[in-house]
């Protein structure tokens, strides 16, 4: 009765089969055939490409390169240095002037620096689905939201007869996967509320989350502290994916 390491024992006593190595070689060759072979080949190619890239990177640092001579703004060649540059001042002034105006405009508009400044606008018929109601199903004043929504913990529906916008419970989300841009790690944080939906104030009030929506998340997990010593527990984040297609909300923290 074979016991313990009987395979090794047998090999030690009796050696390998006469055709052992040939069979082994053939078996390994067979692995490169078929759909599995294609997958293996693809993987190998990806690995090879990656390896080449890393090698090149390492080579770059070891080789020496010519230093880049950046030309400064407004730099003049030596033979023109003596001239007074009135135009430049004017240009400078002009630039300055422009800059402040732009900044002021921005502040007035309430625009902030966000990772996704522009998003594709979502049409109303894409956002809502018309629900027919009534005895003869002719009334069409009800709408059902087809995107991910957030309703908050204290939410209760209006009486079904009177609610105009239906937010299905299957599309309600409470948590978001938030990435910290500097730490490069992702946390699963609770949503506190919707700050702004770029498609319109109606969607903000409804709580619809599409790509580019600014949401407020509970960051007490991260343990951030203000310079004054207070604990930060809410921060803004911007949604970076289409939640209705992925089934989850991915966001980037706005620091």
């Amino acid at each position: 009765m074979p016991q313990g390491d009987y395979i090794d024992l047998h090999r030690k006593r009796n050696g390998y089969r006469l055709d052992h190595f040939e069979r082994k070689r053939k078996k390994e060759a067979r692995e490169s055939l078929g759909i599995k072979g294609k997958m293996i080949a693809k993987k190998n190619y990806a690995e090879k490409a990656l390896m080449k890239k890393t090698l090149k990177m390492h080579e770059e640092s070891s080789s020496r390169r010519k230093a880049d001579e950046n030309v400064q703004e407004g730099a003049v060649p030596a033979y023109l240095l003596d001239r007074e540059d009135t135009t430049r001042a004017k240009v400078c002034l002009f630039f300055l002037f422009n800059n402040t105006i732009k900044q002021k405009r921005k502040e007035k508009a309430g625009k902030w620096e966000v990772p996704l400044p522009k998003v594709r606008p979502v049409a109303e018929d894409e956002m809502f689905r018309v629900i027919r109601s009534g005895k003869r199903k002719t009334k069409q004043w009800k709408r059902m939201v087809t995107k991910a929504t957030f309703v908050g913990p204290a939410f209760t529906r209006k009486p079904p007869k009177y609610e105009r916008f239906i937010r299905p419970s299957g599309l309600r989300f409470t948590k978001a996967h938030v990435t910290h841009p500097e730490l490069k790690c992702t946390f699963c944080l609770e949503i506190i509320g919707i700050k702004k939906n770029p498609n319109g104030p109606m969607y903000t009030s409804l709580g619809v989350m599409t790509r580019g929506t600014i949401i407020e998340v509970n960051v007490s997990e991260l343990g951030l502290v203000t310079p004054a010593g207070k604990v930060v527990w809410g921060k803004y984040a911007q949604v970076t994916n289409n939640p209705e297609n992925d089934g989850c909300i991915n966001a980037v923290l706005l620091v």
């Binding site: 009765m1 016991q3 390491d5 599309l171 209705e244 297609n245 089934g247």
Partner: protein
């Protein structure tokens, strides 16, 4: 308790392979084609099916892993300890726990995404959701990759453990490394353990079996033990310690008195004293091995003293029986002594246990009651006592190497003309004839005889037929039997005749009497013309073929012949005639009473009173009937629109019946 089979655990694929297997299965076994223009419910169900199918596959495979790997609490304590020593209980439990968590996570993912898929309104959206779901499941599997690799290693090792039964008769061989345990094992059993000159050749437990007195004994070979504290011991040594601790066996402690193993007797003695606590309640035999290298006499004084000490220790632990240190050189004799001691010990233990009552109750030795004081000894004829025991085949087998090595020669006792023919091989076909046909020289004659005998017997059987068992009937009995049979036949005939006689139907069937010529009258006329009195015949004919009202019919038929009867009367009589005719023709119809007939229980004095009462009754409801009002006897519908027939949704059916 679940029965685990360590050798039949399914292979645990590693993380990547697992994912590949399940995903390719999903791709092959679910429908693959769906069109953008299809109905939305079809799209949704297509993708939901894929998600659910993948989830169920993962679930199935992970459950199989969790079920097949043994739970440490449910297996024997010996195996539990052994597995702990080999694989580390905590690591093992953690790995299985991770697999379980992964299973639950995958189920949750599938549930969530199926809920989301119900809200998918386009092909692209459903497809994205399905991709997300499968992707998340595969990420979960990636996370438990290391656990799966560990479990696969455990499975491979566990399948190769020897299947030791901790409850049966066992011998355990222990001692220092390189003392000759494995060589002993090889000699005594058929196990082929590797024997090498270096220490720690045996790295795990090995199992072999021997027979002694028709009982099977397990022999367990352990790796050598070093003289260390229990905490310092490595895994290999811990294996043997586990075996010593859990298995109730006879222990053979091997001692190498020649010192060729590399350890002196002193070192071996100290090892013995270190582990003697494990030998409690086990029959212990100290085996001094390698006496061919150094015979016992050449041992020095202190060595001998050490051995004596060990023997004393051993005798202390033994339960009362005396014990000898056995000096052995790989002979089978010592094995006998050991095993008989083990057997005794096992019997003693059984006698002490509580269940002995059950066993003893099953035995009952019947002793005949002595009727007088005379002593009657068993009488054994001298011849039987003198004759020496015949050598049996089993003894021969044992002598020549045991079962498997010696095969008994079945042709030994053949009686042949010449002795050297015994070993010849008998061919089956020779000269195009079957040899078996010519086994006997007059086989054809025998065949003839047999067939003739057979045919004779058959003929006899047919002749005899059925007879009263064994007895022959006498002449008189035979006659009686014939008479009885005849009478029986007659009776049968009579009853048949009765059944089909004139009481049930006309004596003359209708097909012969279409004109209805065969009447009673005609019969009467014919009979009177013959000169016989027809009245009795006529009466009998009437009584048997007609019903009750034969008098009336008679009168009527007579009256009908009369010419000068009143029209009214005739009319009345005709009416009555018709009625009575129809009545009497259909004998089986029941007749209701006429309304004026007085029935005794009703309470009327006479028929006129009854008629009056009926008239008053009719009068009382005549008015109401004329007014067509609903009465008590009319049908009432309690509710014209019952709720259960007019409410509720129904699919495609009607509401005639609900």
């Amino acid at each position: 308790m679940v029965k685990y089979n360590f050798k039949k655990i399914t292979v645990v694929p590693n993380g990547k392979q697992f994912v590949d297997i399940v995903l390719s299965r999903t791709q092959r076994q679910t429908p693959t084609v769906v069109h953008k223009g299809d109905r939305i419910c079809k799209l949704r169900s297509f993708y939901m099916r894929k998600v659910k199918f993948t989830e169920s596959n993962f679930n199935e495979k992970l459950s199989a892993i969790i079920d097949e790997f043994p739970r440490l609490k449910e297996i024997q304590p010996f195996y539990e300890d052994l597995l702990h020593v080999l694989y580390n209980k905590d690591h093992y439990k953690l790995a299985l726990g991770q697999v379980n968590t992964a299973k639950n996570k995958i189920s949750k993912i599938a549930m969530d995404y199926v809920k989301l898929l119900k809200h998918g309104d386009s092909l692209y959206r459903c497809k994205c959701l399905k991709v997300a779901a499968l992707g998340r499941m595969c990420t979960v599997m990636k996370g438990i990759g290391p656990s799966l690799a560990y479990l696969e290693q455990v499975r491979q090792h566990i399948a190769r453990l020897p299947s030791i039964d901790p409850n049966t008769r066992t011998l355990l061989i222990c001692g220092c490394p390189n003392v000759g345990k494995s060589s002993f094992m090889n000699k005594v059993t058929r196990a082929d353990v590797a024997v090498q000159p270096y220490a720690f050749t045996t790295k795990s437990l090995f199992l072999g079996h021997t027979d002694y007195k028709c009982l099977r004994y397990q022999v367990i070979d352990t790796p050598g033990l070093l003289d260390r504290e229990i905490e310092d011991r490595n895994i290999i040594e811990l294996c043997s310690i586990t075996a010593l601790a859990h298995i109730r066996a006879a222990v053979l402690f091997f001692l190498d008195i020649s010192g060729s193993c590399g350890y002196t007797i002193a070192q071996q003695a100290s090892l013995f004293h270190n582990i003697k606590s494990v030998f409690k309640n086990k029959p212990l035999v100290i085996v001094c091995n390698k006496t061919d290298l150094m015979p016992m006499e050449n041992l020095s004084e202190e060595d001998r003293k050490l051995i004596e000490e060990m023997k004393d220790e051993a005798m202390k632990t033994e339960m009362g029986a005396s014990e000898e240190a056995v000096i052995l050189e790989m002979s089978t004799l010592t094995e006998e002594g050991v095993m008989s001691r083990l057997l005794d010990q096992r019997v003693a233990a059984k006698m002490k246990s509580k269940k002995i009552g059950d066993h003893l109750n099953r035995f009952h030795v019947a002793m005949p009651k002595s009727r007088d004081d005379q002593e009657r000894l068993p009488c054994i004829p001298q011849v039987a006592g003198e004759k020496e025991k015949r050598k049996t085949e089993k003894d021969l087998e044992d002598e020549n190497g045991g079962a498997g090595v010696y095969s008994a020669s079945l042709k030994k006792n053949y009686i042949l003309a010449k002795e050297e023919w015994k070993d010849d091989i008998i061919p089956e076909i020779c000269d195009c004839h079957n040899v078996a046909d010519f086994v006997d020289s007059d086989i054809l004659n025998r065949l003839e005889e047999l067939t003739s005998e057979e045919s004779l017997r058959k003929a006899e059987e047919e002749e005899v037929g059925f007879e009263i068992e064994g007895e022959e009937l006498t002449e008189k009995e035979k006659n009686d039997l014939a008479a009885i049979r005849k009478k029986k036949a007659l009776l049968i005939e009579e009853s048949r005749l009765k059944k089909s006689n004139a009481q049930n139907r006309a004596a003359v069937p209708r097909k012969f009497d279409k004109d209805k010529k065969f009447t009673r009258k005609r019969m009467g006329r014919e009979l009177s013309s013959l000169g016989l009195d027809p009245s009795s015949a006529l009466n009998r004919a009437r009584s048997k073929s007609r019903g009750r009202k034969r008098e009336r019919y008679d009168d009527l038929s007579n009256d009908a012949m009369d010419v000068d009867v009143n029209d009214d009367e005739q009319h009345k009589k005709k009416k009555m005639c018709l009625r009575s005719k129809s009545r009497s023709l259909s004998r089986s119809r029941s007749v209701s009473r006429p309304p004026h007939e007085v029935v005794p229980g009703e309470g009327f004095k006479d028929s006129s009173q009854k008629i009056k009462a009926i008239k008053i009754g009719h009068k009382s409801h005549r008015k109401r009937d004329k007014a067509a009002r609903r009465g008590e006897a009319d049908r009432v519908i309690p509710s014209l629109k019952p709720k259960h027939l007019f409410s509720g949704k129904r699919g495609n059916g009607k509401n005639q019946r609900r």
